[in-house]
Symmetry: C2
């Protein structure tokens, strides 16, 4: 029996996606005919997989309304890999980049960038333990920065941009969208580059989605490994090396699942409803549960919260687990509880969580 | 219906492995109990996946008899990624490395190494179009090289080391074993580092196995991305970032499958038989089929061959395909036919191929 999975990543995938993968795991159908092989046993350069790959890319382009002058790449290394690969690929001979610091993952990106350049932190919400997104009016941007980097959603602190920064100079905006890509409509044309590890809203871990405006290509640092060189991978339609073929195929099944649900706009409506349900439960608990993030900046994807009596956190996680609500332990960096509400987490799952929380509060409050 | 798959990679996986993955794809059992989640939906830092990962590593250590002073890492980026990551991690402040050139993949490793150091080609079989492995007596090694790199099996030219180079100085031996790891017994203690993309003898693409002697760690180039830094990954038990969890799990199923078949020594016997069967067919065809590799250096894993009448190659591939023998088209670099005989390709599959070849020769010879 499948349970409700609130893990922060790797995390829930749509049951329909897993069921289709299961049905065709030993014999992948192509054009309605049996191939007699698993999709993971097929050459990435053969016509069958080339068709799979083209369709996956086409569907993602459609879902995100990717403009024609952007390249879509399926790479490896995850979001953390991109902390290094973004400077290697996008510094383009410059020596500094701007970073906005909204929490754990922003800090990680800055630390890694130090290997390659001077990362200037142009705004930070560290002053209040990362419970808000610094408004753009408070940023102190540098016109000579190679790029301006944000993390659109912080999974640990539960903070999310509800707005897209305006770009009023030539510095391209780069966003780590690992944890909220495909969960809400946004205007990709405002960004020079976005990236996402797949293991939240896309598919299994081991796949990285990288979307980059073509004019930013062509000047990788000479030390950039070829397989992580956006320019070379773009020129080779991300087949310079063997891509993670099974993960990309699963991502493709997720894209079809999203399209059948009204695309990104369709799931965004459900995501709004899901997060409202949970935040209302927390805010309406008379202080039993607490989420300290500024309301305007609360994440729809990751909802960290604390119980008034710190000693109850372990009991909450254990009882929830026994009730079929998994993955609720908070990140070790801040403790407490965390519910991740990615696309594959249903409204019914969130309702079950809220019912459990109300019951737990009644019994332990 | 499953067909016989002779693809060079991604390539055949054992049906038993795929069947187990299929059975538990929506509900991974742990300690005999349902988790209610796919193994790919489970946090890599939770106790379930940590146990999976530990067992996968343990089984590989057992299969390869990995000495205690070696680290085993499951990374991303494939063999081609390692062409860059080996110099970044193992130059250790030195400025040159030795490379033995036995074909396409050796050349790729040398080209990529040029970004980071002076790669000295100390022996090459290019003089005879890569139909042999240069004997060690002909190597011209450099004592100040950071490492000495070989490719233990060349998938395109079908050339394989049937011997392990002797190390008579302090220069550690590094081997790209992407296409023959786990297919034959070898003494890992002779090597400083070996690596392999998974998509031949291990599992799906997107997983890299990297085994490195501990004393070689600790001096990565400062530009090494953290997630590809062997030292950092070793210190974090390859969990510095989210590993490709599903691919690693599948690799683990393959390791169990190998153990049930007598381990590496067990499959090596079958691999010897498989390759002998095919080479005997080629050599006994009265010149209808031809493999030009020196007999002592012929690969057990990849058997490229040509038909006397070049015009028959397309018909051969098409007819074989129709007969349920897939993936036989030769690499575009040299043309002809190629049969890859990785561990998951059964003796029965090779027998079916040989039967087809004999019949084809009779009809078209």
């Amino acid at each position: 029996m499948r349970i409700h999975n609130f893990s922060a990543g790797p995390s829930a995938l749509p049951a329909e996606v897993l069921e289709q993968a299961q049905a065709e795991l030993l014999d992948f159908p192509f054009n309605g005919k049996s191939t007699g092989m698993s999709v993971m046993e097929i050459s990435h350069r053969g016509k069958v997989y080339m068709a799979v790959a083209a369709e996956v890319e086409r569907d993602l382009r459609e879902l995100l309304a990717v403009p024609a002058n952007y390249k879509v790449l399926f790479l490896q290394g995850g979001g953390k890999g991109e902390f290094s690969l973004i400077p290697l690929n996008l510094l383009r001979g410059k020596t500094s980049a701007d970073y906005v610091d909204t929490g754990h993952w922003s800090v990680g990106a800055v630390q890694e960038a130090r290997k390659y350049c001077t990362p200037n932190v142009i705004a930070s919400s560290k002053d209040r333990d990362y419970v808000y997104v610094p408004p753009q009016a408070a940023w102190q941007p540098n016109a000579d920065a190679a790029y301006r980097h944000i993390c659109s959603n912080e999974t640990i602190h539960g903070v999310e941009y509800q707005w897209t920064p305006q770009v009023d100079d030539d510095v391209p905006l780069v966003s780590d969208m690992s944890s909220n890509i495909l969960s809400r409509v946004f205007d990709l044309s405002k960004f020079g580059c976005i990236y996402a590890g797949a293991q939240k809203n896309i598919g299994p871990s081991g796949v990285t989605v990288l979307i980059v405006r073509e004019d930013l290509l062509g000047k990788p640092h000479p030390f950039t490994p070829s397989v992580f060189d956006y320019t070379q991978q773009a020129a080779n339609e991300w087949m310079l090396n063997t891509p993670p073929t099974f993960g990309v195929y699963l991502a493709g099944l997720t894209f079809k699942w999203l399209k059948a649900r009204g695309g990104v706009a369709g799931v965004e409506k459900i995501n709004i409803e899901k997060s409202r349900l949970l935040y209302d439960c927390i805010d309406g608990s008379g202080g039993f549960y607490r989420n300290g993030v500024d309301k305007a900046d609360r994440s729809r994807m990751n909802v960290p919260f604390f119980i008034r009596d710190d000693a109850l956190h372990a009991a909450f996680v254990a009882e929830a687990d026994a009730a079929g609500l998994a993955g609720l332990k908070g990140h070790r960096a801040i403790g407490g509880i965390r519910a991740s509400l990615y696309n594959a987490v249903s409204l019914a799952a969130v309702q079950a969580l809220v019912d459990f929380m109300n019951d737990f509060a009644r019994r332990r409050g």
